[in-house]
C-alpha cells in the first residue's frame, strides 16, 4: 500500500500545525464559530448534537495494522472506547474534545493518516471497491489512481470553497461495489479499442434529498489526461454550480438543470484548454505510485478450495460465515474476508478499541498487513490464505466479529441518526437494531438471501436509503418519528433509485413491515436463486404495496 515519502509527511505535519493554530485561535475567541466552522470542517471536525465529531480519512479505504492500532488507541485515549466506520470508508469519533484535536491529528500523522477534507465544501476522500487489488473480477487496481487523485485534490487552492461537498469514487471492476453512479464523479475502469485501460467518467450522481444516477460524460479518459479532465469538471462546477440554495448546490443539480450536453460542452471546452498541460500525468509517475500497490508476494497454497457445504454441516455458523463473508481472490488459494460490523443488536459500523486491535493483529498475521474499510460499513482482510480461514474465524468469534451475514438482511447500512447527528429527524440505529433482532436467526437470513436494507435518519440520506433494495427513511411528522419505506434501489452498475411504497410507519411497526415485504418476496420468488431485487424488478411494486397496505 501507499507509504508517505518525506513530502507527504511534511505536508500532513504542516496541515496539523496549521489546524492546531486555528484551534488555538478558536479557543482564545479570536475566531468566531462562523469563521472556525469551514476551517474545522476541512479538517473533519463537526459539531454534533452532543459534542464534536472527528472524521478521519481512510484514503480509498486501505489501512495497515499499525494504522488500525492507532485508530484503536485514539478511541481508547481520546474517545469512549469505540469508533464508527462510515459509508465513505472513513472512521469517525463521536466524543473528542476540541482541545485534544491537535494532539489526535498529531497521532494520526505519525501513522500517515489525517482528517483533511473529510468534510467541508471541498473534494472529499476518494472511495473505492473494498476488494481493490484482490478481486478476481477486477480489470485494474484503482488505488494508484485513487492515490493520485488524493494528492491532486489535497488542499487544492481553487477547489477548497466549492458550492458544496464533492465526492469521487473509483472502481476497477465491472461489478461496481463502490456505488460510483451515486457520486459527484464516478470513475469506472474501461478499455479502449486499443486495449489500453482508462476511465469512464460519470458525473452528477448523488443521494441526499434529490437522488440522481450519474450520467456518462466521457466514455474513455486515459490516465495521462485524467487529472486535467477532473480539473475541467471541477472548474465548471466551481464557477457555475448553484450557491443560492445549499440543497441545490451539488453538481447533480447543475447537471440536471443545465442538461448533460451543456455541461459536457463546458467541460470539453475547458478540457481543450488544459489538456496536455501541466496536469498531464507521466506514465513513470503512475508506475511509481502503482509500485506501492503491487500485490504481495503470495506464497503458493496447496489448499485452493474450501468445501462450504461440508463446513455448513460440521459447524453451521462457520459454514455460513464462509458462505457469505468471502470474496473470490485473483490469487488461487486466497480469499478476501469481510469482517461484519453488523452483529445482531449492534450499531452498524461501530467497532471497539479492542476489536480494532484484534483486527489489526489478524491483518498483520494473516493478510499481509492489509485491511480495508467498506462503504457498507464493514472491514475486510483482503488477502487471507484459504488454509488460514478457520484460525481467522476463531479469532473473530472470540471478539464478537464473526457474524456470517455479509450481504444479508442484517448487513445494513445505517447512519448515526438522531442519537448523534444534529441534522437527523429520526433515530436510525434503534431501527437497525430492531430489524436485526427480528431476523436474528441465521437460517432465516440464509433463506432470504442477498438483500440490502439501508436506513437514513433524515432526507440527507447518509444511510443510502435511496439505493437500498429496501430503504428506510426516518422523517419527522407531527412531532413524532415516522419511517418511509422505499423499494427497488440499487447502488451497483444496475443503478436505480428506490420508490416510496406508501405512508410511513411508526418505529415499532417497521420490523413487522419489513417482515411482510420479505414474506411477500419469498412467497412470490421463482426460486431461491431469484434475489429480492430481481423479484422486485420482475413483479413491480404492486404485490409489495398490497401486502403492506391492503388493496383498498
Amino acid at each position: 500500500m501507499y507509504r508517505y515519502d518525506e513530502f507527504d509527511a511534511a505536508f500532513v505535519e504542516g496541515r496539523t500545525a496549521q489546524f492546531a493554530d486555528q484551534v488555538k485561535r478558536r479557543l482564545s475567541g479570536e475566531l468566531s464559530e462562523d469563521q472556525f466552522r469551514p476551517l474545522r470542517l476541512m479538517n473533519g471536525l463537526y459539531l454534533q448534537l452532543h459534542a464534536y465529531m472527528l472524521r478521519v480519512a481512510v484514503p480509498y479505504g486501505t489501512l495497515n495494522s499499525r494504522q488500525m492500532r492507532k485508530l484503536a488507541h485514539i478511541a481508547r485515549t481520546y474517545d469512549r472506547g469505540y469508533g464508527h466506520f462510515t459509508t465513505r470508508q472513513n472512521i469517525q469519533y463521536n466524543w473528542p474534545r476540541l482541545k485534544d484535536i491537535p494532539v489526535i491529528l498529531g497521532e494520526l500523522a505519525s501513522v500517515e493518516m489525517h482528517a483533511i477534507q473529510t468534510s467541508g465544501n471541498c473534494i472529499r476522500n476518494v472511495t473505492t471497491d473494498q476488494f481493490a487489488g484482490a478481486a478476481l473480477d477486477e480489470i485494474i487496481d484503482p488505488r494508484p489512481v485513487g492515490e493520485i487523485i488524493r494528492q491532486w485534490s489535497s488542499l487544492h487552492p481553487e477547489f477548497s470553497y466549492l458550492p458544496r461537498k464533492f465526492k469521487i469514487a473509483i472502481t476497477g471492476s465491472p461489478n461496481d461495489r463502490a456505488a460510483i453512479r451515486f457520486h459527484d464523479i464516478g470513475l469506472q475502469a474501461a478499455a479502449n479499442a486499443a486495449g489500453d485501460v482508462g476511465w469512464e467518467v460519470w458525473v452528477g450522481g448523488g443521494l441526499g434529498r434529490t437522488p440522481m444516477i450519474g450520467k456518462l460524460i466521457n466514455s474513455f479518459v486515459p490516465n495521462e489526461h485524467l487529472l486535467a479532465y477532473l480539473e475541467s469538471i471541477m472548474r465548471v462546477y466551481n464557477r457555475y454550480g448553484r450557491r443560492d440554495n445549499k440543497y441545490k448546490a451539488r453538481i447533480k443539480i447543475l447537471v440536471h438543470e443545465e442538461g448533460l450536453e451543456t455541461i459536457k460542452g463546458q467541460v470539453e471546452a475547458e478540457f481543450a484548454e488544459v489538456r496536455g498541460g501541466v496536469l498531464t500525468l507521466p506514465s513513470e509517475e503512475l508506475d511509481r505510485i502503482s509500485a506501492y500497490f503491487e500485490p504481495p508476494a503470495f506464497p503458493s497454497q496447496s489448499a485452493t478450495r474450501i468445501d462450504v457445504a461440508r463446513e455448513l454441516i460440521l459447524d453451521p455458523a462457520y459454514g455460513r460465515w464462509l458462505e457469505h463473508n468471502l470474496n473470490s481472490h485473483r490469487q488461487p488459494g486466497y480469499a478476501s474476508v469481510t469482517i461484519s460490523l453488523k452483529p445482531v443488536g449492534g450499531a452498524p459500523g461501530d467497532a471497539t478499541d479492542a476489536q480494532m486491535d484484534v483486527v489489526a493483529d489478524l491483518a498483520e498475521r494473516y493478510s499481509f498487513d492489509e485491511l480495508r474499510v467498506t462503504h457498507e460499513q464493514n472491514l475486510v482482510l483482503p488477502h487471507v490464505a484459504i488454509a488460514d480461514l478457520r484460525e481467522v474465524y476463531d479469532a473473530l468469534v472470540a471478539s464478537g466479529l464473526a457474524e456470517g451475514n455479509a450481504g444479508l438482511i442484517t448487513d445494513m447500512i445505517c447512519c448515526p441518526g438522531l442519537d448523534f447527528c444534529a441534522l437527523a429527524n429520526a433515530r436510525s440505529i434503534p431501527i437497525a437494531q430492531a430489524i436485526s433482532h427480528k431476523f436474528a436467526a441465521p437460517e432465516r437470513q440464509a433463506e432470504i438471501g442477498d438483500l440490502k436494507i439501508k436506513i437514513s435518519g433524515c432526507i440527507n440520506a447518509c444511510g443510502h436509503h435511496h439505493v437500498g433494495h429496501i430503504g428506510i427513511l426516518g422523517v419527522e411528522k407531527k412531532g413524532g418519528e415516522l419511517y418511509q419505506i422505499t423499494l427497488g434501489g440499487d447502488a451497483t452498475q444496475d443503478a436505480s433509485v428506490g420508490k416510496i411504497l406508501g405512508p410511513g410507519f411508526e418505529a415499532d411497526k417497521v420490523p413487522g413491515a419489513i417482515e411482510t415485504l420479505v414474506d411477500t418476496y419469498i412467497a412470490r420468488r421463482q426460486s431461491a436463486d431469484e434475489t429480492f431485487i430481481a423479484a422486485y424488478r420482475r413483479l413491480g411494486e404492486a404485490p409489495f404495496k398490497e401486502a403492506l397496505y391492503g388493496n383498498g
Binding site: Q35, P157, L279, P282
Partner: protein
Amino acid sequence: MLHSERKPDKLRSLGILALNGMFDEMDAVGVLRQAAAEILPGDVAIVSSFGADSAVLLHLVAQVDPSLPVYFLETGKHFAETLAYVETLKSQLGLINVIAIHPDPADVKRFDPNGDLWETDPDSCCHIRKTEPLEPITEQFGGWVTGRKRFQTKERGVLPHFELTSDDRIKINPLAYFTDADVNQYKIDHGLPEHPLFARGYKSIGCAPCTSVVAEGEDPRAGRWRGLNKKECGIHFDFNGAIASPMSAAKFTLHKDGAFIADPFHAWEDGDDAASARYKHIPLPVFLESRDAVLANPHPMGLLVSPGDAIESVEADLGRFASIAIKFPAFSDGRGYSTARLLAERYHYANEIRAVGDVLQDQIPLMRRCGINALVVTHEPTRQALVENRLPEVALFYQPVGVTEVPVGTRPYLRRAH
C-alpha cells in the same frame, strides 16, 4: 562646514514658538530674511517644484538673496511646460543658483523600468524620484524654505512660519498664511509670469502623470494624485507630526508586496463616468455597457469582477486595466479562485490582481496560489497576521497551480517544468 553642531543650540535659544511669534501673518519677506540672514546664515536652501504658484516664493527669494540655493526636483516626469517655466523664472527673477536634482538612474532602472510605477505604486514613485534624491541634499542644510500654505489642504491648516523637524532641522514656510487670493494678488502686484498650465485649470502642479485639472471651488491640491488616498508626496512627512501628519496606518488597506500601502484605487460609485473616471474598479457588466468610453479614457482604471461575471467576455481588453479586483462577497464563495487562475494562467494577466470583500487570513494562502497578488484587508486579526507574516499556511503543494514553479522535491508530475 558642518552646521549640525550649532543648529540645535540656536534653535533652542530662540525657541520655535517665539520665532513664530516674531512675524506678522503676511510678513513673508521678513520671515525668509530672518531665516537666511539671522538664524541660519548660509545654511538655508529651497526646494521648488516650479509649479503654478512657485513664482511667489521664488520672487521672495530673489528679494532676500538671489544666490540662495534653489533645488528643483527634476523627476523626469514633469510637463514640458514646467521645464520651460523653470527657465522663464530663472531669467525674469534673476535667480543665479537653481540646481536640478535627478533621481538615481540605477533606482529608476530597478524599480521603474517601464516608467509606469506612478500608476501601480505612486508612493514608491515619489520615493525614488523625490524623497531619495533629496535626502543627501537635505543633510547639507539646517534650514529649508517651502512654499506650503495653510489653505492648501486640511492637513496644513495649522502650518506655522517655522517648524522644527524631527531631525532638528528648521522648516521655513514664508507663505504659510497666504490664501489663494493673496497669491494671485501678489502675482499681479509683482507682474509674475503664470505657469503655462495654470490657465488650463491646473492649480497645483506636480509630475505630469499624477496631476489633473481642479474644478472651480475644489481644493487646489485635489488635482494631485487624484483618485488616490494620497495628499503629500512624502518629502513633507518628516516634520513635527502636529503639523503635517502622515496618513494613519489604518488607512493603508491595500496589502501588496509584503506591506500595507495607500490604495490608489477608490470604489466605483453610481454616477461615475466611464469616460473620465480615474483609479476606479469599474464593475465588469458596467464596463461591457460602456466599453468604448473606458477604452478611450486616458486614466488608469481597474476592473471589478464579481462571482458570476464571465471573465472570458473581457479577455481582449484585460491589458487596458492596471488592476483587477476579484470580489469575494463571502469567504465561502470560491468562484474568485477560478477567476484568478484564468487571469493569471490562461490570459497571462500580469498586473495587479487583488482580492476584495471577505478577505480573511485562512484563505489568503489559497488566493495567492491562484494568482492574487494584492489584498484589500479590513479584518483586524487578518491585518495583524499579515503584518506579522504568520498566515496559517501549508507551504507544500500537491498541485501545479499558479504561475510560479512548484519547488523541486515535490511530485514530478506536479511541477510545471518537466
